[in-house]
């Protein structure tokens, strides 16, 4: 069995597959139980990718159109629409915290964007469509403010993130309801969004054949790239991981822990508000329900993607994988026409199993 995998030139460690070949060589030096363990370890370490591939294969066999171009573009665009909020909340989880106010922050941002970019303004009667750059700045400022309040309360009063964001979640919800009651709007859904706004977000980036790729896919990629740079290449990113890993160590090393926590939450707030800005245009109908429960999927995606609640662990690539996996499963179940009631159960099981498998990587075996 082993002989079959060994090629005559396997000793030459050059070329694109040298890592894989080195692994195969290493595998050949193992025997019996160790070899078994090596295989299971490898399977578990790459479990997330294996699950994705298996899921795709299984669904594609049952419903071949699942892997059609338009379906793939759909999955990618749905993933893109959920990525920014996950990128934001991931930072909070790396700090060994969480943020359950994320969904309501998305909602508030969407309401503000919608109210300033509508052709039939009832919240501010008589006010026309505002310039897009201004609105983007306002929305980002609101997100940053929400994040600042979260981060400040956490860092200053040493409150648990769950408590702080539970409070802000409620405050934000009330704010949204009050905001929608302003002017002549009377709690009604915001619609009649300006073409410019909808185009900027949901307009066509380019078409592959007849399939249009929406612009927000590009924006999500840009945001992921920016977050990658911040996480890996800046002092803030490094400090974030250090604080999440051991706050005391960061403190005695002269890291401004409070500033780090606040900035990470501000960053998260900005990501939520950008998500809100996108969702407003994508769904084109904004009310008090917009953003409801968004944090649940975002947090699940992060944890599935290996951002540990223990703190100090997480990768941007993992978050993208997590969001993608959740989306593939949701969309796939839809393609499979699974009974709606069963969907909840499957969703719960997927999150549980994926996290259990991921956690296994960090367990130190004795």
């Amino acid at each position: 069995m082993a002989e079959q995998t060994t090629t005559p030139n396997s000793t030459i460690k050059k070329g694109p597959f040298r890592k894989i070949r080195a692994e195969i060589d290493h595998f050949n030096t193992l025997t019996g139980k160790d070899r078994q363990r090596y295989i299971t370890d490898m399977l578990f370490n790459n479990a997330m990718y294996i699950i994705i591939v298996l899921a795709i294969i299984f669904i594609a066999i049952r419903v071949p159109s699942f892997v059609s171009l338009s379906s793939i573009v759909n999955i990618i665009s749905l993933t893109a629409s959920r990525l920014p909020i996950a990128l934001g909340v991931a930072g909070c989880i790396v700090l060994a915290g969480t943020d359950i106010s994320a969904g309501r922050a998305v909602g508030l941002a969407a309401c503000i964007a919608g109210s300033l970019l509508t052709t039939a303004n009832k919240i501010f009667p008589g006010m026309g469509v505002q310039p897009l750059p201004l609105v983007i700045l306002i929305v980002i400022a609101v997100g940053a403010l929400i994040g600042f309040v979260n981060g400040f309360c956490m860092a200053k009063f040493k409150l648990h993130p769950y408590i702080v964001t539970l409070s802000t979640q409620l405050i934000l919800y009330g704010t949204i309801l009050l905001y929608l009651k302003m002017g002549e709007n009377n709690g009604q859904t915001l619609s009649s969004l300006s073409e410019g706004y909808r185009n900027l977000v949901a307009g066509t980036l380019f078409t592959i054949g007849t399939v249009a790729v929406p612009r927000y896919v590009l924006y999500a990629i840009i945001l992921a790239a920016i977050m990658w740079v911040i996480w890996n290449k800046t002092t803030l990113g490094k400090n974030m991981f250090a604080v999440g890993s051991n706050e005391e160590a960061a403190n005695v090393s002269g890291v401004n822990v409070m500033r780090t926590i606040i900035l990470v939450f501000v960053m998260a707030g900005i990501m939520y508000s950008i998500t809100g800005f996108f969702e407003g245009a994508r769904i084109a109908s904004i009310n008090g329900n917009t953003g409801f429960n968004y944090e649940a999927d975002a947090i699940a995606a992060c944890v599935i993607g290996g951002v540990s609640f223990v703190g100090g662990i997480g990768k941007i690539s993992g978050i993208i994988t997590g969001v993608l996996l959740l989306q593939i499963i949701f969309t796939g179940l839809n393609f499979l026409s699974v009974d709606q009631n069963i969907l909840y159960i499957i969703k719960g099981l997927v999150i549980l199993v994926a996290c259990a498998i991921d956690m296994r990587k960090y367990l130190v075996r004795k």
Binding site: L78, G187, T189, L190, R198, Y344
Partner: protein
């Protein structure tokens, strides 16, 4: 140091309290002018299943102004879509000495929640008016001073189905994009466990089919024949636009004119979901000016939906009369206060038995 902390704490407490005072101000503006004398003028407590429902926001606004005009001392409570929350605030209101309870029930899945409220009210001899979300006759009839103001919740679905059927008969060939003689449709359900949603989902399609068959056309076909439920539901039970957008977007990646299997009709339990579906259709190049319009139908006639119908991106909706409902509730409340018969002054045509007032729906397809 400590003194400062205490001061800060007191200050924030004061702020919170003054905010609360502001919020509660709506009701107690005009508490005088009570000439009833039969009952002490306790507060009229109104319990909404949530403040976050577009249609009920309209009802709430109409009620607020009608009650204020009638000089009634009242207070609104948000159930936040949780029955426990609502029941708790009802307990508090009763303890506070509420004179009348108006309840927009959260849990319509069984009689228990409603019966529980009736029993509590009965024990204190406080009249109860249920409204909007359905309560069964047995519950309402178990207490003399109890009434229900709602709509015949099968009616919205039936009217929507009839409207769809008529529209299709009139525009059959235009709607049947692939010309196979059958209209394929999708149905968006607001909440898996809600009575209203269940009946709208059922009758929206059945009545449309009845009209089609009567006109000699084949019945509607669900776009995905393997889906035996024949609907897609908002997993959060929030009747949300976002759920519809995501479903529609996924559907459109699989079903298109190019594949000759395009979804030709969208039926939604409410306008939110209809608008959500329209957003996805618009992103895919439909339902805008000069583009093919996939007929989309909703229920509620919200301002946004009416705007969409007026600009042609949506076809029709069913109007619930928010003001009519508010006025009926206020009438009953004042009847209870003045010791009149509870249904005095209500159009007898709206009455069902001795327990219920049905506010009629109407079709809205543009002005």
């Amino acid at each position: 140091m400590n003194v400062k902390k205490v001061l800060a704490l007191l200050l924030s407490l004061c702020m919170a309290l003054s905010l609360a005072a502001c919020g509660g101000g709506g009701g107690d503006a005009a508490s005088g002018g009570d000439d009833s004398g039969s009952k002490p003028a306790g507060e009229v407590s109104i319990f909404y299943y949530t403040f976050n429902d577009t249609y009920l926001s309209s009802v709430r606004s109409a009620m607020d102004s009608a009650l204020a005009a009638a000089g009634v001392n009242f207070n609104n409570y948000d159930g936040n879509n949780i029955q426990t929350t609502q029941t708790d605030s009802i307990d508090t209101a009763i303890a506070k000495g509420a004179s009348i309870l108006a309840v927009n029930l959260v849990d319509t899945g069984s009689n228990d929640a409603a019966q529980n409220i009736v029993d509590k009210a009965k024990a204190q001899n406080i009249p109860v008016v249920f409204f909007n979300r359905s309560v069964e006759e047995s519950v309402v009839s178990s207490y003399d001073n109890c009434a229900f103001v709602g709509t015949d919740y099968t009616q919205a679905g039936k009217m929507q189905g009839d409207m769809i059927g008529q529209y299709l008969v009139e525009n059959y060939d235009a709607v049947d994009l692939n010309g196979d003689g059958v209209i394929s449709y999708v149905m968006f359900k607001g909440d898996e466990a809600n009575q209203e949603a269940i009946y709208r989902t059922q009758y929206g399609q059945e009545n449309a089919d009845a009209v089609l068959t009567a006109a000699g056309k084949p019945a509607l076909k669900f776009y995905d024949e393997t889906n035996t439920n024949r609907y897609l539901v908002d997993q959060n039970g929030a009747w949300s636009a976002q759920a519809a957008t995501d479903y529609m977007q996924t559907i459109l990646s699989q079903y298109s004119e190019a594949n000759n299997n395009m979804v030709e009709l969208v039926i939604a339990n409410n306008d939110e979901m209809a608008l959500g579906a329209i957003a996805a259709l618009q992103n895919a190049g439909y339902n805008s000016a000069g583009k093919t319009v996939i007929p989309v139908f909703g229920v509620d006639a919200t301002d946004a939906a009416r705007a969409a119908i007026d600009n042609g991106s949506m076809i029709g909706t069913i109007k619930q009369d928010a003001e009519g409902m508010a006025n009926a509730i206020v009438t009953i409340i004042t009847n209870f206060q003045n010791g009149n018969d509870k249904f005095d002054g209500i159009d007898p045509g709206y009455l069902e038995g001795t327990w219920r007032v049905n506010i009629p729906y109407s079709v809205y397809t543009g002005e």
